[in-house]
Amino acid sequence: MFLHQLQLYNFRNYREQMVLFDQPKTIVVGANAQGKSNLLEAIQLLAVLQSFRVQRDRDLVQWGQRQGEIHGKCQRRYSTVDLCLRLFPHQRRTMLVNGVVVKTKDEFLGNLNAVLFSALDLELVRGSPEYRRDWLDRVLVQLEPLYIRLQQSYQRVLQQRNALLKGIKQGKMRYDPAQMELWNQQLVTIGSKVMFRRRRLIDRLSPLAQAWHRRISATETLTLSYLTRFPCGDDINAIQTAFYDHLQKRAIAEQQQGSSLVGPHRDDVQLQINSQPAKEYASQGQQRTLVLALKLAELELLQTVSGEPPLLLLDDVLAELDLSRQQALLSAVQPTAQTIITTTHLHNFADRWLHSAQILTVKDGEIQLNC
């Protein structure tokens, strides 16, 4: 797939900007805080409907403006898709596909696939479990857009159940075993589906990440596993039974703490290098290699499933990789696959990256084509 046109209105520091992409590789050059990452953030929003930096739409709309807009035209193998996302500071966003408003996120997702790799991704190794769960969820919504519905339902059940537990703890609500049981059942039914899909994703990503990791590091072995709070089998029924049993065991602790302690919202992805947890033992270099392997696996999987290479968005990370890692990345990306790279300087790049690349300069929210 190829994003050939991107228009931004009142988005972050862009007032009105049109960008035309005409080469598989685009390098966006600019000093810090000029709007390089904002450009990639806009593209990622079209792909996953979520920013990798902020939660609220009001942070995305240019200060003082009533509405912001991201509009992209994307060439797929057999069709063109026109995606538009209207953002409002205090209102729900509007999504349009080919000029028609769509009501649910799953109708919007899956039209444009993108893999973003930024300095923040090092948190995948050293950060809290939340980073790893969010990463899985972002990949899943692109692979199977209906997953977003599961995720939303699960969030809703979790919020309701937490409100109930909190209300009971504070004495504002009465403990009603019948009601609690129903929330338990909903949490287990929907939560198990979330866990099942995340685990299936790990199973698919794991061999790909392992192979990439071996190609870059030569000697080390990477293992990925999905960690739940309780041991359980692979199929959905086994997960449900184990989940439900564990929920019963933790019932008293949950009431004391006033929140839900078991479920996919507490799960994690364990990353190990040569059977050692990467979080504690990996050096800076090993961490970079690991994150790169995860991203390449993500890229490969999205490509296999959708049949088209996704966009690769590299936010200020390429220049930080040494030449052998740059080579690994280059070999993973098909020459025709669209890659958009941001950087502060053009040196430090392997010549093959610069070759036939379109170079854009960003300054203070304005993008210009370098001739």
Binding site: T104, D106, E107, L146, R149, S153, R156, V157, Q159, Q160, R161, A163, L164, G167, K172, M173, R174, D176, A178, Q179, L182, W183, Q185, Q186
Partner: protein, 197 residues
């Protein structure tokens, strides 16, 4: 910009659902241009409605009398009760003219986030109606949201030992197109498939 009474009216109108600042201004100026009798009639209609309309003691539907017209109607089937969340749902179902049983309005759904538990809903009277006997079927017609599902299961569990409990089907709208149905609805429709008669 507005003279004070007009500002107050616009502010009040703006509180109504679906009314923004521009519509509020339009409505206010329109009201101002109408004859006094017409405006008085509207004001009285609003007040009378608020003062006189309450909830039916039996089913909880909106009614001027202690017992609503539907509950009083001897032609309606006493042995079937359709449980809905809101009076609006009764209006929607009544428009079909196909349902001849009675209703029960819960007045909301279980939602701990809004502080609504089973105790805040019109559930005890429903249980009484069913326990009293004579009810052959309770149809649960509650929206299939997370909260609606919890409410459906809660009420269903309470009543199951006394009578037959059913729930309405989900699926493709009549005259709709499979191609345009959203995937979640399609999955539900396949789950709820029926043998061709």
């Amino acid at each position: 910009m507005y003279t004070p009474p007009l500002a107050r009216l616009i502010e009040q109108l703006q509180r109504l659902p679906g009314i923004g600042p521009k519509s509020a201004q339009r409505l206010a100026l329109y009201l101002l241009s109408r004859p006094r009798e017409e405006v008085t009639a509207l004001a009285h209609a609003i007040l009378d409605c608020k003062e006189q309309v309450g909830h039916c003691q039996v089913c909880g539907y909106l009614s001027v009398d202690p017992i609503c017209e539907i509950c009083r109607n001897p032609d309606r089937d006493d042995s079937t009760i359709c449980v809905v969340c809101d009076s609006r749902d009764v209006i929607a179902l009544e428009k079909t003219r196909e349902y001849w049983g009675k209703y029960h309005v819960l007045g909301g759904v279980i939602s701990p986030m809004q502080g609504i538990g089973p105790d805040q809903l019109n559930i005890p009277t429903l249980v009484q109606r069913v326990v009293k006997g004579g009810v052959k079927e309770v149809i649960l017609a509650i929206n299939p949201t997370v909260e609606g599902e919890t409410t459906t299961f809660y009420v269903g569990k309470l009543l199951k030992e006394f009578t037959k409990v059913t729930r309405i089907a989900f699926g493709i709208p009549i005259g709709g197109d499979l191609e345009y149905a959203d995937e979640m609805t399609l999955i539900k429709a396949i789950e709820g498939r029926q043998e061709l008669q």
